[in-house]
């Protein structure tokens, strides 16, 4: 591939004796939507957090937009390029800040102008409208909070969005709304997505390519089309596939 916006090579993350990521390599092309699936403890979130600089990694390389990063230090530039949306909308918003304040913070840090307009536009884009601007997060529903979190990530006009189970805390009907919103944002802005989920259905809907992870390793990388036609080789992928089809009485 020519233009990889994100490239991870042989990344190793350990927590004391526990190897959370064991020589993981992943390439994501510009404009692509890349999915990561696996069960809890497979290291999928750790990978995302290591990319975002929330974990350190002890070996391997990470390059984003041609720039190498190591450890946990990230430049301001990095956060202009890469933003993250977290799983739990109840935990990822500051409980004592209004939506306005939440959205202002990244703008102030990065020295943006036209703050007022940007906040209004960001809220419009996620379908919330100005009525929500001076509310606190506890006054919002789960779906609305996740919209605020997405607005906060998009307000810096990043190129890459890291999505860590963005809909798993939401109802099925709200999930559809958020997925549509994310897809629209990607289309409008030409974003690159790296999306982590345990739900194969969601990943195959949102992503063109996906990596299947298990116990810190990438089991295989397949395209979503291959998943549909069952053209995958690993047993574990098959297991996940069966699990996603629901309960069957034996």
């Amino acid at each position: 591939m020519t233009a990889n916006v994100l490239s991870v090579r042989d990344m190793v993350v350990t927590f004391d004796d526990f190897v959370a990521l064991d020589h993981v390599s992943v390439d994501v092309a510009t404009g692509e939507s890349f999915g990561i699936v696996g069960e809890s403890g497979s290291g999928k979130s750790t990978l995302l957090r290591a990319v975002a600089g929330l974990n350190t990694f002890s070996a391997g390389t990470l390059s984003i937009n041609g720039q190498s990063y190591s450890g946990r230090s990230r430049s301001k530039d990095f956060y202009r390029t890469v933003q993250m949306v977290f799983q739990d909308p109840y935990g990822s918003l500051h409980p004592r800040q209004t939506v306005d304040r939440l959205l202002l913070e990244p703008l102030a840090i990065h020295g943006f102008d036209n703050v007022d307009q940007r906040i209004m536009r960001a809220l419009d884009e996620v379908g919330l409208g100005s009525g929500f601007r001076f509310r606190y997060s506890h006054q919002l529903s789960g779906g609305q909070r996740q919209r605020v979190a997405i607005a906060r990530a998009l307000i810096l006009e990043p190129k890459v969005l890291l999505l860590d189970e963005p809909t798993s805390a939401l109802d099925a009907s709200i999930q559809a709304e958020i997925l549509n919103l994310l897809e629209q944002a990607r289309k409008d802005r030409g974003l690159t997505f790296v999306m982590v989920s345990h739900d194969l259905g969601v990943i195959s809907h949102m992503c063109e390519r996906l990596a299947v992870m298990k116990s810190g390793k990438v089991v295989e990388t397949v395209t979503a089309d291959a998943l549909e036609s069952r053209a995958f080789s690993a047993d574990y992928t098959r297991q996940l596939m069966t699990a996603s089809e629901g309960f069957r009485r034996v």
Binding site: N180, Q184, D199, L200, S204, R248
Partner: protein, 278 residues
């Protein structure tokens, strides 16, 4: 089924709040024999409160009314707290969502299960222990002796949920209420736990109320499904006829799930109509 285990008629649960009364459940009626009934709905639809009202776990300040709330010939609203306690755990049991929060963190698994058993039956400690070990084995825990002396934080989520099921089934209840029993578990573990639950419910001939937000899961697991919206049952149908659902809300819930092999961009979203909530 001929013998009615549970009859619920016009069940209402409401909570007084500063801004007025919130009606969580508004007139739910159904009957249950020794069968599997699924209750599906979004958060706030009243599905959990329905289960909790039957179990008698609604907070004291809430108001419960019903024309009938009859379990095996006894009026659950009229009996004393003491009688209620005799039924709860012994004849009606409930599996909760997250074993991390619903098991006692400072007591070993074995002690918790024995406690349930000894509350309801007069048996010796040795016998209680033997039955607990047998029950742990029944939920397919490979090394029951070891798990018996572990604390809840020392076991995984899937194992914790099996312990929970073991604890709930040890007194041989006639009715089991499972409130999102697998939502906190991994997809691969979910199926295992459901398989165990399915087998035990069938073997012991219990009635089951399965509360979940996942319509597909419920329909593959239960014989009959109640779909709830805003505190009311909007549709009741046999699981096999799910594709023939009439209510737009049920159809919407079915359609909004992304599945492998269908290409729908954007996903259809629920267009909530005001009249659904009437």
């Amino acid at each position: 089924m001929t013998d009615k285990l549970l009859t619920v008629e016009d069940l209402r649960v409401s909570f007084p709040t500063r801004t007025g009364e919130v009606q969580a459940v508004r007139g739910v009626s159904f009957t249950l024999g020794r069968e599997r009934l699924g209750i599906v709905g979004e958060s706030g639809s009243g599905k959990s409160q329905t289960g909790r009202a039957i179990m008698g776990l609604t907070p004291k300040h809430a108001k419960i009314t019903a024309k009938t709330l009859n379990f095996a010939g006894r009026d659950l609203l009229a009996i004393s707290d003491r009688e209620r306690r005799e039924i709860r755990g012994k004849r009606i049991a409930m599996v909760l969502q997250d074993p991390k929060y619903s098991l006692n963190p400072v007591s070993t698994i074995g002690r918790q299960i024995i406690e349930t058993l000894k509350t309801h039956e007069r048996i010796s400690t040795a016998e209680a222990k033997a039955r607990t070990l047998a029950m742990l084995e029944a939920v397919q825990i490979r090394d029951p002796e070891r798990v018996f002396s572990l604390y809840p934080h020392e076991v995984s989520g899937g194992m914790g949920q099996r312990v929970m099921i073991a604890m709930m089934l040890i007194c041989g209840p006639e009715l089991l209420i499972a409130d999102e029993p697998t939502s906190a578990l991994d997809v691969t573990v979910q199926l295992e736990v459901l398989g165990i639950l399915d087998k035990l419910v069938a073997e012991r001939g219990m009635g089951l109320i399965f509360v979940s937000h996942d319509l597909r899961l419920v329909s593959s697991f239960c014989d009959r499904v109640l779909v709830m919206y805003a505190g009311r049952v909007v549709e009741e149908l046999p699981s096999a006829d799910l594709s023939k659902a009439q209510h737009p809300y049920t159809q919407g819930l079915l359609n909004c799930l992304p599945t492998i092999g269908t290409d729908r961009h954007p996903l259809p979203v629920l267009d909530r109509k005001k009249e659904w909530a009437l």
